[in-house]
């Protein structure tokens, strides 16, 4: 056990699974880097942010494939390889690039099993960076997990810390369904204790990072950290919060969400993705439909505005949910008084 960054945790998960299973291969743009360059160096980058560094050197050109900048062909190739005996982990660099290969994910990988009458297995992982906070602007900052969550046949993972990232990625690689694994690019240097050994965290089991009596906060990915921060501040003022990290948006651990709302009676949902048809609306609908009687206050969503992600720091800061906004949302649901009593 030692402190590892989010980046190192993912790299270690990939390495250990490649060591364990020769069918696991990697592909993506510049996941090694330097192929065909005049310097003659391969593994020059190890991914655009260095996440796959060293894996080409360790596993060689038969396991680690740099691709042309050609998302449709290589994501499609990953799907085809998964359907024919390999367990590919394809890196889509920025999730925003899914526009170039959505067919391969949405119409091919996601559909094979159902459309072929349950006879296909497509053990594929697509890793991609998501999230704002990097001044990467509108085409490199989106949090598109709701898009994938919407598609039956896909599993969608949004890890919230290095420990979670390693265990969930190993689970993703061992899973026999196509998995979209989304890494918040702002978190790559976050550190925490991560076991050196391989371990897996099951999908569809939410993690309660805080347990409290007053308000349930459901947060996704990086937002879990902000929710924890807000919960710790509120605790000092005697407001105790349960913070739920669902870990996977598909499958979604709705049972845990409902149980916690039954206990606290108040719900705040924190979602970095665009606000229409996102996870916040999904969870809000779930609770409104199935735990209406437990609610003591309206559900509050802490989400960005319905705009593209802006470039300028001042605007991007306004765009993203943060601990202060979560805190104020929690206070508002705590302060809520029903004006009209039930007859």
């Amino acid at each position: 056990m030692s402190k590892k960054s989010f980046r190192q945790a993912i790299n270690e998960a990939l390495r250990q699974e490649m060591q364990r299973d020769p069918r696991v291969i990697l592909m993506g743009e510049d996941i090694a880097g330097g192929q065909g360059g005049s310097a003659g160096i391969v593994d020059a980058w190890g991914g655009v942010l260095g996440v796959t560094k060293g894996l080409y050197t360790e596993f060689g050109p038969e396991r680690v494939f740099d691709t042309p900048i050609s998302e449709a062909s290589y994501i499609g190739a990953a799907v085809g390889a998964a359907a024919t005996g390999l367990r590919p982990v394809a890196e889509l660099m920025f999730v925003d690039f899914v526009g170039s290969c959505l067919d391969q994910i949405m119409n091919q990988a996601a559909k094979f099993r159902y459309m072929f009458g349950g006879k296909a297995r497509t053990p594929l992982v697509i890793r991609a960076m998501y999230g704002a906070g990097f001044n990467a602007a509108a085409q490199h900052s989106q949090a598109l997990y709701p898009l994938f969550t919407h598609i039956p046949g896909l599993k969608v993972v949004v890890p919230s810390s290095p420990y979670e990232a390693k265990g969930l990625l190993i689970e993703a690689i061992r899973d026999d369904d196509p998995v979209i694994f989304l890494e918040n690019k702002v978190m790559y240097d976050d550190e925490e204790e991560v076991p050196d050994e391989p371990y897996s965290i099951p999908f569809g089991e939410a993690n309660l990072t805080r347990e409290g009596d007053d308000v349930t906060i459901v947060a996704f990915g990086r937002m879990v950290n902000f929710a924890n921060e807000a919960a710790d501040r509120l605790e000092k003022d005697g407001i105790s919060c349960t913070v739920i990290d669902p870990r996977t948006t598909s499958p979604l651990d709705s049972a845990t969400i409902l149980e916690c709302v039954e206990d606290t009676g108040r719900l705040v949902i924190v979602d970095e993705s665009s606000p229409r048809c996102n996870m916040a609306t999904d969870v809000a609908a779930l609770v409104a439909e199935q735990a209406f009687d437990a609610l003591k206050a309206p559900i509050r969503q802490v989400v960005p505005p319905h705009t593209p992600v802006p470039f300028a720091t001042v605007l991007e800061k306004l765009y993203l949910p943060d601990a202060a906004r979560i805190e104020s949302a929690v206070r508002s649901v705590m302060a809520y008084k029903k004006t009209k009593q039930d007859a």
């Binding site: 056990m1 050994e197 391989p198 371990y199 099951p202 089991e205």
Partner: protein
């Protein structure tokens, strides 16, 4: 005047502890306390434990507020006789805080050492050493599903004049997950090999639960290595075993299902912290961990009974031996300690569950220290 003032500082429960939260003061400011009296509850990520006053005196100041998290060694409060003036106490506090923030009072003991990984045959074992000195070393052996952290409140207490060793058995904690045949005899052989690797010829063995059976097997096969036996709620002396605990420990995979299982371990259920549950869930997620536990359970507790009767080994053991057991143990019955020769003292602790070394650390430590001296 400062020799009349005793600082109360954040204690270090276990080698990994770096900070703690004062969850409650049990003594009002200005009240008299006796040495050894519990004056506060300290919560770490691992456990909540009572903090015993280091001296007698009046609790003149409570510096730390309830709910505050502070590093190990930080000033929590000040004890002094009524004669000491407020000004002197203020000066003492100011000096302490200045020294503390500059690091000069920082804990410089070598016990910050991280556990080391030791190769024993095909296995790698996680080993935590502490202490030095010429006295015979102490080896702690944990039980089923445990790890070296089970001794976090005990290892330091025995490390003042000797080397102490805690380790994770195969299949546990950070050690290799290959448990071999999963029998106490198999683990005893590994334990003996570990001692050889550490160049230790003879140890006082402190062993808990299934570790007790392992210790007895070690005493049977390598009597020269075992200077004494302190067995805490040991297996091997009877047939009964709470299989709900064993099976639940193996199968429960969520906090909600595991917590009731862990509650079997202690009399005071509040001792089972969120973090303790989380740590066990995390351990069980490691590749091979559950399979290892299953192998051990099958080898040691087939058909819901303990497989091996090691009572004759204990009776014929030539060195000193003692037994410590919680009267309210819900995993192994303290009745198993009945009908042993009078030469083997049995300490029964009231209102104590299966883990006296955590639940009644002070009593257990006192019994251990007395025994190894």
């Amino acid at each position: 005047m400062t020799d009349l003032i005793t600082p109360i500082t954040m204690p270090k429960f276990g080698l990994a502890m770096t900070e703690g939260k004062i969850t409650s003061w049990n003594i009002p400011s200005g009240a008299h306390v006796e040495a050894g009296q519990e004056i506060a509850d300290i919560e770490t990520t691992k456990i909540t434990n009572g903090y015993e006053s280091p001296a007698s005196g009046t609790l003149r100041r409570r510096i730390a507020t309830e709910g505050e998290t502070l590093p190990v060694g930080a000033l929590l409060g000040v004890l002094a006789e009524p004669a000491v003036s407020d000004a002197d106490i203020d000066a003492f506090i100011a000096k302490f805080q200045a020294d503390f923030s500059s690091g000069s009072t920082a804990d410089t003991q070598a016990d910050h050492a991280e556990p080391i990984m030791v190769s024993v045959g095909d296995l790698t074992l996680r080993v935590q050493e502490a202490g030095q000195g010429d006295a015979t070393p102490v080896l702690f052996i944990h039980g089923f599903g445990g790890d070296l952290g089970n001794w976090m409140l005990n290892q330091n207490a025995l490390s003042t004049d000797r080397r102490t060793i805690t380790f994770d058995l195969p299949g546990h904690g950070g050690s290799s997950k290959n448990v071999g045949d999963g029998t106490p005899a198999g683990f005893a052989a590994t334990t003996a090999a570990l001692l050889d690797k550490l160049a230790i010829t003879s140890v006082h063995v402190v062993a808990h639960s299934l570790g007790g059976a392992i210790a007895l097997d070690l005493a049977r096969t390598c009597p020269q290595k075992v200077a004494s036996l302190s067995l805490i709620a040991p297996a091997g002396l009877g047939q009964g075993i709470n299989m709900d605990f064993i099976e639940g420990f193996i199968s429960a995979d969520r906090r909600k299902t595991l917590e009731p299982v862990l509650n079997y371990l202690v009399h005071d259920k509040t001792l089972i912290s969120r973090q303790m549950v989380e740590d066990i869930i995390r351990f069980k997620r490691l590749d091979g961990a559950i399979q290892g536990l299953q192998t051990i359970a099958k080898a040691c507790f087939p058909h819901g009974r303990q497989a091996e009767d090691l009572r004759p080994v204990l009776v014929s053991f030539s060195g000193p031996a003692q037994i410590i057991w919680g009267e309210a143990d819900e995993v192994l019955s303290p009745d198993d300690a009945k009908n042993l020769p009078d030469t083997i003292p049995v300490t029964l602790l009231p209102l104590t569950g299966h883990m006296p070394q955590l639940e009644k650390a002070a009593d257990v430590n006192a019994a251990l220290i007395k025994f190894v001296k």
